[in-house]
C-alpha cells in the first residue's frame, strides 16, 4: 500500500501557495484562480484521505467541493464582470471605496 502522506504535504503546499496568491495578486481573476487552487488543494487532501481510510466519503466531499466551486465561479465571475463594466478595472484594490 502506498503512503498518502506526500499527497497531504503537497496539498498543504498548494494551499499555502494559493493563500499567498490571494493576498498578493491584484487582478480579481487571478485572485479567483488562486482561490480555485486552494479548493483543489483541499480536494487532493480529501481524496488522499479517502484512500487512507478506505471509503468513498472523501471523494463524495471532493465532488461536492467541485459543485460548490462551479457555482461560486459562476457568481464570482459575474460579479467581476459587473465591476469591470462600471469601473473599467479588474483590480481588487480599485474597489476600495468602502472604508473609514
Amino acid at each position: 500500500m502506498t503512503d498518502v502522506t506526500p499527497y497531504v504535504v503537497l496539498s498543504a503546499i498548494l494551499f499555502s501557495i494559493g493563500a499567498v496568491g490571494v493576498l498578493t495578486r491584484r487582478n480579481a481573476i487571478v485572485v479567483f484562480m488562486c482561490v480555485e487552487l486552494m479548493l483543489n488543494a483541499c480536494n487532493l487532501a480529501l481524496v488522499a484521505f479517502a484512500k487512507q481510510h478506505g471509503n468513498l466519503d472523501g471523494q463524495v466531499a471532493a465532488f461536492f467541493v467541485m459543485v460548490v466551486a462551479a457555482a461560486e465561479v459562476v457568481v464570482g465571475l459575474a460579479i467581476i464582470m459587473t465591476i469591470f463594466r462600471t469601473r473599467r478595472s479588474a483590480s481588487v484594490d480599485d474597489a476600495s471605496l468602502l472604508k473609514y
Binding site: A19, V22, L23, T24, R26, V92, D93, A95, S96, L97, L98, K99, Y100
Partner: protein, 644 residues
C-alpha cells in the same frame, strides 16, 4: 421652662361610634360644595348666569347640614360625642390601609360651623363684590372647592385624609390668590404662597410617613390609643414636623412670608382663606394632634416659641403697613400666633386656642370684608393714606368695622376680649415670660388697629380726586352686619366655660393652675396695656397731619416693619441664594464632572476609533490577510492543544 408632664395622662382617647341617623348625612357637608365646584368648573359658560347662586346655595346647604349635625351632637352625652363615617376604602396597599373615613366630634363640629357659616356669608358678600368681574362663576367654583377641601381637612379621620384636604386648600388658595392672574404681582404671590406651603407640606408628608412607620396607621383614633407607647424622640420628631406643616399653612415664622403677598387675591378670599379658615388649619392640626404634642414637651416648647415670635412679628408688621389689607394680614399673622400660643400651652390652652380661632374668624372676616367694602367704595385703592373720614360716607361699613375693631383689641365685653384674655392668662400661668410677651403683643394690637381705624374712618379726607366713596350694596353689608354681631357676641361661647367643657372630650381638661396674679388683675393689666397702645396711636396718628406718601426718614424699626421684618430678605439670604448657588454649583459640576466623564469617555472612544478605523482601509486583500492571520492562530491553537 414649664412642665406639662403631669398633663400627659389626661389626653383623652378618641373612641368614636359609627355614624347613624342624622350623622349619616356627614358626607353631604363635604359633598355639597364639592358638587358645586364640579358643576361650576365642568359646566363652563353655561353656568355663568346662575353660577354664583349655585355656589352660595351649596355653601348654605352645607351650613344647614352642619347645623343639624351640631344640634344632634348637642343632644348626646358628653362622652358620646364622637362619630365616624366610613365612606369607602381609599388606599389598600400592603400594610397601608387607609379608609376614606370622616370623624365628627366637638372639635370638627365647631370648625364645620365656622367654615360653612363664615364661608356662606362670604359667598353672599362675593356676589356683590365680584359682580363686575367676568370670571365670577369661576371664582365661586374655586370658593366652593376651597370650602369642600377645608371641610375635608377638618373632618378627616386620619392624617392622610387631612393631608388631602390640606393640599386641597393649598390648591384653592393658590388659585384664588392668583385669581387676577393678569396682574404679575398676583401671579407671583400665588406662586410664592404655593412654594412656601410646599415647604410646610414636606413636614406634613414626613410626619405622616413617620407616623405610619411608627404606629402602622395614620388614623387619629388608632394613634391616640397607642401614642403613649412610642418613643419620646419619635414623638418629638413627629411634633416638630407637624409644626413645620402648621407654620407653612398658618404663616408662622419662619414660613410667614407668603401671607402678606397673598393679599393680592380678591378681598373675600383674604377674608375667608387668609383670615378666618385656611390659615388656622395649622392651629387645628396642633390641637388635633394633641395626643402627639402632649407626649412631646420639646415640640410643645418649640410651638410656644414660634407662636410668641410670630405674634410679635406680625403685630410689628401691622404697625407700619399703609396697605389696609396688608395691615390686616400682619394682624392675622399675629392673632394666629396667639392661637398657636394657646395650642402650644397644652391641655390648658387648646380650648382657648380654638375659642380665639372662632372669634378671630368672626371679627377678622368682618374686618376684611369691611376693608373690601371700603376698597369697593374707593375704586379698589388700598392705600390708607388716601382714605380718611370715611365714617360718614360708609356708615354701615364703619359701624361693623368698629365692632370688629373693638373685638380684636379686646375691648371688655367683646368677643376678642374673652378669647385673647384667656390665652394671655393661661400663658402667664404657664410661663411668665411668654405671658408678658403676649401682653405686649396685645398692646401693639391696640396700637396698629387704632392706627388703621383712624387712618380709614377718622382724621381728614385725603381721597383722590375722582373717588366718590359710597356705601356698598345690601348683599355686601348684610354679611358685615351678621359678622359684626358675631364679633360682639362671640364671647357667649365662654359662658359658664361652655367651650372648655364642650371640647374636653377631645382635648382633655386641664387641672386648674393658679395664675401668678389674680385673674381680675391680669384682665385689668391687659385692658390697660391695650389702652396704652390705643392712646399711643391716638397721639401719634390721630392728632397729627397724615402725609399722603409715607415719610422716608423713619427709624430702623419702621423700615424693618415696612419690609415685612425683612422676611423676604431673610428667605433670600438663607434659602434662595444658597439654593441658587448650590444649583449653579451642581450645574457646573454636572457640566464639567458628570458630562465631562461622558463626553471625555466618548471622546476617548472616538479617538481610539479614529486610530482603529485606519485598519478599515477598504483593500480586500488586507482583510484577507487578517483572515489568514486568524487561520494561523486557529491552527496554532489546534496544534498547541494537540501537542500539549
Amino acid at each position: 421652662m414649664y412642665s406639662l408632664s403631669e398633663a400627659a395622662h389626661q389626653v383623652p382617647v378618641i373612641e368614636p361610634s359609627a355614624a347613624d341617623g342624622t350623622f349619616s348625612l356627614l358626607w353631604l357637608v363635604i359633598g355639597l360644595p364639592l358638587l358645586g365646584a364640579a358643576v361650576l368648573l365642568l359646566g363652563g359658560r353655561a353656568t355663568d348666569r346662575w353660577g354664583h347662586w349655585l355656589g352660595t346655595l351649596m355653601s348654605a346647604a352645607s351650613f344647614v347640614v352642619s347645623l343639624l349635625l351640631f344640634v344632634e351632637l348637642l343632644g348626646r352625652e358628653a362622652g358620646d360625642r364622637s362619630v365616624t363615617q366610613h365612606l369607602y376604602d381609599w388606599i389598600a396597599v400592603g400594610d397601608l390601609q387607609v379608609g376614606m373615613d370622616l370623624l365628627y366630634d366637638p372639635l370638627s363640629a365647631l370648625f364645620l360651623l365656622l367654615i360653612t357659616g363664615v364661608g356662606t356669608l362670604i359667598h353672599v358678600y362675593s356676589i356683590g363684590y365680584m359682580e363686575h368681574d367676568p370670571r365670577r362663576r369661576r371664582f365661586f367654583a374655586y370658593l366652593n372647592l376651597f370650602v369642600a377641601a377645608m371641610l375635608m381637612l377638618v373632618l378627616a379621620e386620619n392624617y392622610l385624609g387631612l393631608f388631602l384636604g390640606w393640599e386641597g386648600v393649598g390648591l384653592a388658595s393658590y388659585l384664588l390668590i392668583g385669581f387676577w392672574q393678569h396682574k404679575p404681582s398676583a401671579a407671583a404671590a400665588a406662586k410664592k404662597a404655593f412654594v412656601i406651603n410646599r415647604v410646610g407640606d414636606i413636614g406634613m408628608a414626613l410626619a405622616i410617613a413617620l407616623l405610619f412607620t411608627t404606629f402602622g396607621t395614620t388614623s387619629f383614633t388608632a394613634i391616640s390609643q397607642v401614642s403613649g407607647a412610642a418613643e419620646q424622640d419619635t414623638l418629638t420628631a413627629v411634633g416638630l414636623l407637624l409644626l413645620l406643616a402648621a407654620c407653612g399653612k398658618s404663616a408662622q415664622v419662619p414660613l410667614q412670608a407668603w401671607l402678606l403677598d397673598a393679599m393680592e387675591g380678591p378681598t373675600p378670599v383674604s377674608a375667608l382663606i387668609h383670615a378666618a379658615t385656611m390659615v388656622t388649619a395649622g392651629v387645628y392640626l396642633v390641637v388635633r394632634s394633641n395626643f402627639i404634642f402632649e407626649l412631646a414637651p420639646t415640640a410643645q416648647t418649640v410651638v410656644v416659641i414660634v407662636a410668641t415670635v410670630t405674634l410679635l412679628w406680625g403685630a410689628v408688621i401691622g404697625c407700619a403697613k399703609d396697605d389696609i389689607k396688608k395691615a390686616l394680614a400682619g394682624s392675622t399673622m399675629s392673632q394666629i400666633g396667639y392661637m398657636m400660643l394657646g395650642a402650644g400651652l397644652g391641655v390648658a390652652g387648646y380650648a382657648f386656642a380654638i375659642f380665639h380661632l372662632i372669634t378671630h374668624g368672626f371679627f377678622k372676616a368682618n374686618m376684611f370684608l369691611g376693608a373690601g367694602s371700603v376698597m369697593h367704595g374707593m375704586n379698589d385703592d388700598v392705600d390708607m393714606r388716601r382714605y380718611g373720614a370715611l365714617r360718614h360716607a360708609m356708615p354701615v361699613t364703619f359701624l361693623t368695622f368698629a365692632m370688629g375693631y373693638l373685638a380684636i383689641i379686646g375691648f371688655p365685653g367683646f368677643s376678642g376680649f374673652w378669647s385673647k384674655d384667656k390665652i394671655i392668662e393661661t400663658a402667664l400661668a404657664e410661663n411668665w415670660v411668654v405671658g408678658v410677651l403676649a401682653l405686649l403683643g396685645a398692646g401693639i394690637t391696640g396700637f396698629y388697629m387704632t392706627r388703621l381705624m383712624l387712618l380709614t374712618f377718622f382724621t381728614t379726607r385725603r381721597w383722590k380726586e375722582d373717588v366718590h366713596p359710597h356705601e356698598s350694596p345690601g348683599v355686601m353689608t348684610v354679611p358685615l352686619v351678621v359678622l359684626a354681631a358675631l364679633s360682639v357676641l362671640g364671647g357667649v361661647l365662654l359662658l359658664g366655660d361652655w367651650i372648655v367643657e364642650w371640647l374636653a372630650p377631645v382635648v382633655g381638661e386641664a387641672p386648674h393652675h393658679e395664675p401668678p396674679l389674680p385673674i381680675i388683675v391680669i384682665t385689668l393689666l391687659t385692658v390697660a396695656t391695650v389702652a396704652v397702645g390705643v392712646a399711643a396711636a391716638w397721639f401719634l396718628v390721630g392728632k397729627r397731619e397724615v402725609p399722603l406718601t409715607a415719610p422716608q426718614d423713619v427709624s430702623f424699626a419702621t423700615r424693618a416693619a415696612r419690609a415685612d421684618m425683612y422676611g423676604d430678605a431673610i428667605n433670600d439670604v438663607l434659602v434662595a441664594r444658597p439654593g441658587a448657588a448650590t444649583v449653579r454649583g451642581l450645574t457646573a459640576g454636572d457640566r464639567s464632572v458628570v458630562d465631562g466623564l461622558f463626553t471625555g469617555g466618548s471622546a476617548g472612544v472616538k479617538a481610539t476609533g479614529n486610530v482603529l478605523r485606519r485598519l478599515q482601509n477598504g483593500f480586500v486583500r488586507s482583510y484577507a490577510l487578517s483572515v489568514l492571520g486568524g487561520v494561523l492562530l486557529v491552527v496554532l491553537a489546534l496544534l498547541a492543544v494537540n501537542l500539549a
